[in-house]
């Protein structure tokens, strides 16, 4: 009985992580495969970098990537501002008129199926264009607006949970020492919620960079984002240059996450050491 238990959990862990990583690894391996058939390993001519070369020569993918990069960055910046404001209002302003409505509107996009969000955004853009002539056609602006609307909900959640764990007496202390509300925000609140803001930024960036469903509704004929290009390509079957693209994206993200994890760990260690010095 006990022996079963001792092996069961580690086995499941190993299986689970294999399940999570084998597809990614196989995708990476086959990106170096010479054969167009992707899954048949051509050992005579592999490994090869030819798909990477082709990838960078593919102007459709490259321009879509640039467009996505721009939209994701813009989206992340706007979402962080709006999400921080919403989080601040929800956590710090107590009960005010419209609090329930704001709370519901920031929570709803999290559980709303993407396809409905996309559909409703498009209906709005069409109606608005007919009524006031803006936004004229669909493109970067409409995609960004759509992305911000659901990204900011995620940022709000992150900021809310950070502010809820935040010792409110720090803000009171700043005010007590003579700082006006906006100075309290910029000198005390903002620096202390910065980690949450950064993770909110990164999350918004990723959500936008990754989104295909909402973009399909909000995009116009001349604005095709990278996920839209990938989606239409892989719907037709596997394609080796997508493997190469995926490999590059995985490597960038992985190295970023690993580096930040090391950084967090190193600074935690330093902090622990300093705390020990202070309380011998």
């Amino acid at each position: 009985m006990i022996r079963h238990r001792r092996y069961f959990v580690p086995t499941m862990l190993a299986f689970g992580f294999a399940f999570l990583y084998v597809p990614i690894l196989s995708m990476i391996v086959y990106s170096f495969n010479n054969s167009r058939l992707v899954t048949v390993w051509d050992s005579a001519h592999s490994p090869t970098l030819k798909w990477y070369v082709l990838l960078f020569q593919n102007t459709q993918i490259m321009s879509a990537a640039r467009l996505s990069l721009g939209i994701a960055t813009l989206n992340a910046c706007i979402s962080v501002v709006l999400g921080t404001l919403a989080g601040l209002a929800l956590v710090r302003f107590g009960r005010f008129k419209g609090r329930t409505l704001l709370g519901a509107m920031t929570a709803a996009p999290l559980v709303m199926p993407e396809i409905i969000t996309g559909l409703s955004m498009l209906m709005l853009f069409v109606a608005m264009e007919r009524l006031i002539g803006w936004p004229a056609g669909r493109g970067i602006t409409t995609i960004t607006i759509a992305h911000v609307t659901f990204s900011m909900a995620y940022v709000t959640v992150i900021i809310q949970s950070r502010l809820a764990n935040f010792d409110e007496s720090l803000e009171e202390a700043a005010m007590d020492l003579g700082a006006r509300p906006h100075i309290v925000f910029f000198r005390v609140t903002l620096p202390l919620i910065m980690p949450a803001i950064i993770s909110g930024w990164l999350l918004s960036f990723t959500l936008s960079w990754d989104d295909v469903v909402i973009s399909q509704f909000a995009a116009g004929p001349s604005s095709t984002t990278l996920p839209m290009v990938i989606f239409s390509k892989v719907r037709l079957g596997v394609s080796p240059d997508v493997n190469a693209l995926a490999t590059l994206m995985v490597l960038i993200v992985a190295s970023g996450v690993v580096a930040s994890a090391f950084w967090v760990r190193a600074s935690e260690r330093r902090r622990a050491r300093e705390m020990q010095l202070a309380n011998p």
């Binding site: 559980v111 892989v234 994890a261």
Partner: protein, 296 residues
């Protein structure tokens, strides 16, 4: 005191206006359009109200779209199919995610943060590409079939692509972190002495797990299951890439109505009906979250 009030109002007003305009209004719009009829015009639906003789405002509400959804077998079966796929995927996700979360929560602190990072890492990489990766594995001449055939286990490739199985795999794979993280957050808080107390009182490990750990982790299970189930019902990308073409999920039906048939009113009605389907799980989820907040 007055500038302070003004500042506060500004802080609240900006996100409020954004969400009203870009979330609330569109939603109301979809709701309204679902009561119109498709017609050849721009935009392609009948107006919801009209001025009759420039004096009387006439509301033209059509329930025909909903009647259509309720009677057409295609819609009913795709709703039921979506629920089935979401439920089965959630079940497998829980079955795989629970032991993983448990193992991570019980690991040594240094290992724990590494394992957690490994769970979160795929979440930061493209969802679309991760689903795509399974095509390479599941195809008839894909990695799994090739390995099994070269080992001599099978002689004919197993058809896995465009089956329910592939969709389950895709959903479990994509949403596993959403199951593991709330479960981990819950299990990690458990007081280990509770299990020691149970053992001390004579419960064998399995009994102790069933009577102590499992009931205490129920909030985590509910949160994780809802986080998987809710998006899975409306899932569009995974069934499009891996799933059957003879049985569509509801998200795909909506997209087809809109993009292929250009029937905006029916697409809107499909969306509203889908939301109605999700109301119960969403309410369960929100209540759970509210209770967690109250405990803090």
């Amino acid at each position: 005191m007055r500038p302070r009030r003004f500042g506060r109002q500004l802080v609240t007003a900006v996100p409020m206006l954004w969400l009203l305009l870009f979330f609330m209004v569109p939603f109301i719009l979809v709701f309204g359009i679902s009561f119109t009829q498709a017609q050849l015009s721009i935009p392609p639906y009948s107006p919801l109200w009209e001025w009759v003789d420039h004096r009387v405002l006439a509301l033209r509400v059509h329930l025909s779209n909903y009647a259509f959804l309720a009677t057409d077998a295609l819609y009913i079966s795709s709703y039921l199919y979506s629920l089935k796929v979401a439920a089965i995927s959630t079940f497998w996700c829980l079955l795989l995610g629970y032991p993983m979360a448990y193992g991570i929560a019980r690991a040594a602190p240094a290992t724990r943060s590494l394992l957690l990072m490994l769970v979160i890492l795929p979440f930061w990489t493209s969802f679309l590409l991760r689903v795509y990766a399974w095509i390479g594995l599941l195809k008839n001449n894909g990695v799994i079939n090739n390995i099994l055939m070269s080992l001599g286990v099978i002689h004919e490739p197993i058809v896995m692509m465009q089956t329910d199985f592939a969709v389950y795999i895709g959903i479990v794979y994509s949403y596993l972190p959403f199951m593991i993280l709330p479960l981990y957050a819950n299990l990690e808080k458990h007081d280990r002495t509770l299990l020691e107390a149970a053992a001390d009182l004579g419960a064998r490990p399995w009994k102790a797990f069933m009577r102590v750990t499992l009931p205490l982790s129920l909030p985590g299970i509910i949160a994780g299951a809802m986080l998987v189930f809710i998006p899975a019902v409306g899932e569009y990308v995974i069934p499009s890439l891996l799933g059957r073409s003879d049985q569509l999920m509801i998200g795909r039906v909506l997209s087809d109505e809109f993009f292929e048939n250009r029937d905006w009113p029916v697409a809107s009605a499909v969306a509203i009906a889908m939301l109605l389907l999700l109301v119960i799980p969403i309410v369960i989820f929100q209540r759970q979250q509210g209770r967690e907040m109250a405990h803090k």
